[in-house]
Structure formats: structure tokens, C-alpha cells
Symmetry: C2
Subunit: 347 residues, 2 copies
Amino acid sequence: QPAFDLHEHSHTRLNILTGERVLVSPHRSKRPWQGKVEDLPKDERPVYDPKCYLCPGNERAGGVKNPDYKQTFVFTNDFAALQADTPVGEFNKNNLLQAKSESGICKVICFSPRHDLTLPLMDVATIRQVVDVWVEQYKELGSRPDIHYVQIFENKGEMMGASNPHPHGQIWAQSSVPVEVNKETRQQKQYYEANGKSLLSDYLAIELEEKSRIVVENEHFVALVPFWAVWPFETLLISRRHIGNITEMNDSEKNALANILKRLTTRYDNLFTISFPYSAGMHQTPTDGGLYPEWHWHMHFYPPLLRSATVKKFMVGYEMLGNPQRDITPESAADRLRGLSEGHYKL
Amino acid sequence: QPAFDLHEHSHTRLNILTGERVLVSPHRSKRPWQGKVEDLPKDERPVYDPKCYLCPGNERAGGVKNPDYKQTFVFTNDFAALQADTPVGEFNKNNLLQAKSESGICKVICFSPRHDLTLPLMDVATIRQVVDVWVEQYKELGSRPDIHYVQIFENKGEMMGASNPHPHGQIWAQSSVPVEVNKETRQQKQYYEANGKSLLSDYLAIELEEKSRIVVENEHFVALVPFWAVWPFETLLISRRHIGNITEMNDSEKNALANILKRLTTRYDNLFTISFPYSAGMHQTPTDGGLYPEWHWHMHFYPPLLRSATVKKFMVGYEMLGNPQRDITPESAADRLRGLSEGHYKL
Ligand SMILES: O=P(O)(O)O[C@H]1O[C@H](CO)[C@@H](O)[C@H](O)[C@H]1O
Ligand SMILES: O=P(O)(O)O[C@H]1O[C@H](CO)[C@@H](O)[C@H](O)[C@H]1O
């Protein structure tokens, strides 16, 4: 029998950030596809759309009129999943039915007044303005006593449930710390207590040595396909310096973040020459007043596409009931992303 | 301030089977939708499709020809994510990159030779044949020393990644126990050790008393929207008797399972008068030789639709990075499902 080979044989890999496993089936990419074919995202959008409720000067679904904004624009979500005035309460029946009130604030951040742009089409200086808004918002929301976690994220593209194509991200800030963040706290804390260094510093050192999963780097950040990636072209953006959250970034780091965001998302768009859909978001220190010396700022990119612009990876039956599963190896995904140009196909 | 009300205010609920939480935002169902609209599933399919690789007598993608089967038909997946002859091996770099070979067997079960049917359109006697195949397969695969878990599931509809519309389910049987099953073992074991009864027996007793989340029941099974449901119309099918796996069901229970599957899936189809997409699957005792007195057989149904036949719930940015989130309450979903007829809209 041949020796076990990560690039040939089915195996599980450990996600060191969550402690959970993913099933990798390298040989499976050859299977035929008679399933769902997605529509191509519309590639041409107007600079201004009179019907878009995020464009400057337009009226939103809630009835409020947007200002005639020129850069970024932040407002409270008109249909927020979390509300600040939620009454505090609990419900418990024999410990089998357990509920707890959850208050919070949901915001929308328009990245640009231009309806036709996306992060990879914006210039680095304009992306830097978005970074500054993230810093301010994390600071402002996180300093409230009723906010224990500030989740900054973006759903890009219809395929990822974006309810509007205008370039925008969201913030959901809430009174408890969510499940995925708690998993990462547990794993990072364990490592930090045992080794006196952050889990991601040591992990990053190995990746920089191995090189096979690196996609793009600059002075302050590295984007790579993590060893345990679930989504076909998933990436993890890590700060070289061990910092807990975005407010700790110095000026040069904030510029470098804007730089790497543009370069990474440009590669994504170039992969299938479409405006590449993904959900992305930062994980950083909770704002519940605790000390989190183990936390290392990072950003996850979860893109749904697998084979082409129109065939995505479905996380369904087996994945929902068993384990997440992927067909191509993280190494081959990194290899493809690394081979792409950083000049955007549309520019 | 008003008192905290589960049907008005945002809150989290505990999933007692996984120990994880879901965010519920009851007021959010009013938000407008300018996002993705799905295609309607094709409602008319031929009894036999010469191009379908699951129809009797046709050639499959792998080149093998299907027999002219008359009832159910089981074969090994031509593009299996798990293979029995995977060489055993491990990979470990400083505990930060960890991988382990995973062997297994993937099977496909055609529920019927008829291309145009689905579970709700089959009669109870024919569904009972499917139940019998599940029992046989669990027994056969589970008795192999190299198989430690047998995951039986169905992806129904293009929206749930089914690569072929012919009525079929799958089995992925593997050498380790997957993540989701381990979570449920931990939770059920803890409860069983503390209370001497299965977690789901006691949970079911509460639900039968409260009634608000029950969808359909018969002599041996109850289908309900669990208190912690994530997907809008998610249901959980529980056996009244505390049994660990499907091989323990007696003849009358197997008939009752066929009966409730037909009734539940008929209600699903009637909800939006379409062939309702979902991923569904059983959770039951691992087959690694351990004793699992705490395990209580059940089946999860995870349907993606939210508002209509064409608007689904997206588990994206916040959900991937934070917590799963839902807009309508489990109680209102149960109420709608309970109000539907059990006569199929097409029959
Ligand atoms: O096995 P199929 O139908 O080709 O594929 C479908 O089910 C599998 C198991 O849930 C998933 O891994 C695939 O992403 C999905 O498209
Ligand atoms: O907030 P939006 O863009 O209306 O909605 C989108 O993002 C939310 C946060 O990830 C999800 O809960 C919704 O399912 C999705 O459609």
C-alpha cells in the first residue's frame, strides 16, 4: 500500500482556532456536476442607482433619507437583529428550554458613495478610510458597558445573502460573546498559557517557513489559506504583530491593512473574472472588560465558489450533520490564488 | 420598560444537543428584501429520464450501468469523499498543523425507480422499504471494524446541493466520529449520567406538555420545531421510546417512521406548494464498539427557505463568524407547519 499522502488521500485536519475538524477529500474534485448552476453576478452597475437605499441622497426602506455623503457613511440598521432597548430577562424550564435576552446595536457601513465599486475596485487611500471607520466603531461600541462583543463583517454578493449590491459592510455589536468567538478564546488561551506566545504567532511562523499556503503578504500582514480551511478558497488574514484588536494598529499597520485587503480581494475577483462573492469578518478581543492577552487579531474570508463563477460548494447534509468537508486541498487553492495577477481584470 | 418576551425581543436560546446558542430576532421578519431570489424548483419531471444517471438501466458517470431496479437501489458512490483503502497515517507539525487519514465508504440509495417521485409523493409502504434499507445499511456498515460512524442523510433539491433530482439519499460511513456527533454525545452523556434518563426523553415530555412547537405525531414518533431551531422551518423527529439507533426499532416503529416521514414532508411541500428543499439526516449511536446508553435516536430536518418558495435564509457573515441567527420564532414556524393539510397539494 502507498504511504499516506495529504494530497492524495482523504483525511481530517484540525482547526486550531476552534478545536474542530474538517474532512478533506483531495481526489473528489473530478466528480461530475448536474446540480445547481448560479447566475453570474451583474458586472456592470451604475455609479448611482436611484432605487438603491444605500446611495447618497436616497430614501431608505425605513423612510429616513441618506445624506449626500462623499466618503464612508455609517448608520444604524433599519431592520436590526439586535436592539439596545431589549428588556433584560431569562427563561428556563428544567434546564432543557433555556433562553436569555440579548441586546445590541447593528450598523451598516457604506464603503463608498459609488454604487458600482467594491473593495478591490477602490484605491488604497479610500480603503484606509474604511479601516478608520472600523477602528472608530470598535472603540465607540466596545466602550459601552452593554456591549461585550463587536462583530465587524461584510457579506459580498447575492450568493452570500447581501440584500443590496451597494458596497457595504455591517457591524453587529451585542451583550454576550458569540459561540465562534468563545471557541477561539478557549483555544488561544490554552496555547498562550502553555507557551507564553500567541497561537497565531507560532502558526504564522510555520506557514512562512512552509510557504505552500501563503497567498499574499506585506510588511505587517499575511493572507494564507489556513491548513484547516473549510471553504474551497477560504483565507485567513493575520497581523504579523501580536495585537488583540484593530484599535492597537499604528498608522503604518492601518495602511498595510488597506493595502493587503485590496490585493487579496483583487486576486479573488481575478480567479473567475467576476466580482467574487464572500463573507468576511474580523475576530478580535471581546469588549466585556476581561483581559485577553492570548487574543491575536485576524480576519476570515469565506467564499462559497468551488469550480467556477457559477458552481459553489454546498455545505449541506453531511456537512451539517457530521463535519465540514472540502474537495480540493488548501495547498492547491493557495497555489491558484498565488498564481493570479494583482492587477484587477476590470481596471 | 415592558417585560422580556420570547416572542417580541431578541434573545439567545441554548441548543441542548450541542451546547451552542442561536440568536433569535423575532421582530426582524419585517425587513425588506432586495437580495437573491431563487429559481422555483421544476415541478414536472418525467417518470424516466434517459439522461439521469440514477434511473434504472442508465449508465452512471463512472461508466457502470444501473440494473433495471424496481424498488430501492443501493450502490457505492462513484465519486466518494471517503474510500475504504485509504492508507493509515498522521501528520503533525508542532501540534499546529495536525492531520489524520480518514477511511470510509460512501453509498447512494435510490428511494424509487421513478424519477418524478420524492418521499412525500411515495406511499407509506414504499417509504417503509427505504427504512428497511437504512436498517440493513447501518447494520452492515456499522459492523465493520473500520467504520466508527454511519451518517445517513438526504440532500433534497438543487438549493441544498443535490447534484441530481432523482429521489435519493446518501450514507457516508467513516473511521472516526464526526464533530457534530461528538457534541451530541457529550451533551447526552452529561445529562444521562446526572439524571439516569435520556436528554431527549425529558425534553420530549416538556414539548408534549407545552404543545406550541409540536408539528405532527403518531404512536411512536413526534416531529417538532426544536426550541433552539436555527433554520426557519427546522424540525427534529424524535422516537418516543429511548432507543440508540435504527436497528432497535420494531416492526411497528419502522412503519410509524415511514408514516411520519410522509406526513412531515407533505406538510413541508404544502408550505409554499413546491417540492420543499431540505437536508435531513439521522443521528444515532456511533459504531466504534463503545456503549452509548445515553444516545437517543433522532432525525434533523434543515430546510433553507424563509419567506417564500424563492427567498431563503442565508447563514453568512454574522452567522459564520458569530452565532447562527433566525428571524421568525420556532413557535410561529411550528404554528404554520401545524396548520397545513396532510393531503399533498399535487395528489
Ligand atoms: O454528494 P453530492 O450530491 O454530489 O453532493 C452534495 O452532497 C455532499 C454531502 O453533503 C456535499 O459534500 C456536496 O457539496 C453536495 O453538493
Ligand atoms: O443584513 P442583511 O444584508 O439584510 O442580511 C444578510 O446578512 C445577515 C447577517 O449575516 C444575515 O442574517 C442574513 O440572513 C443575510 O441575508
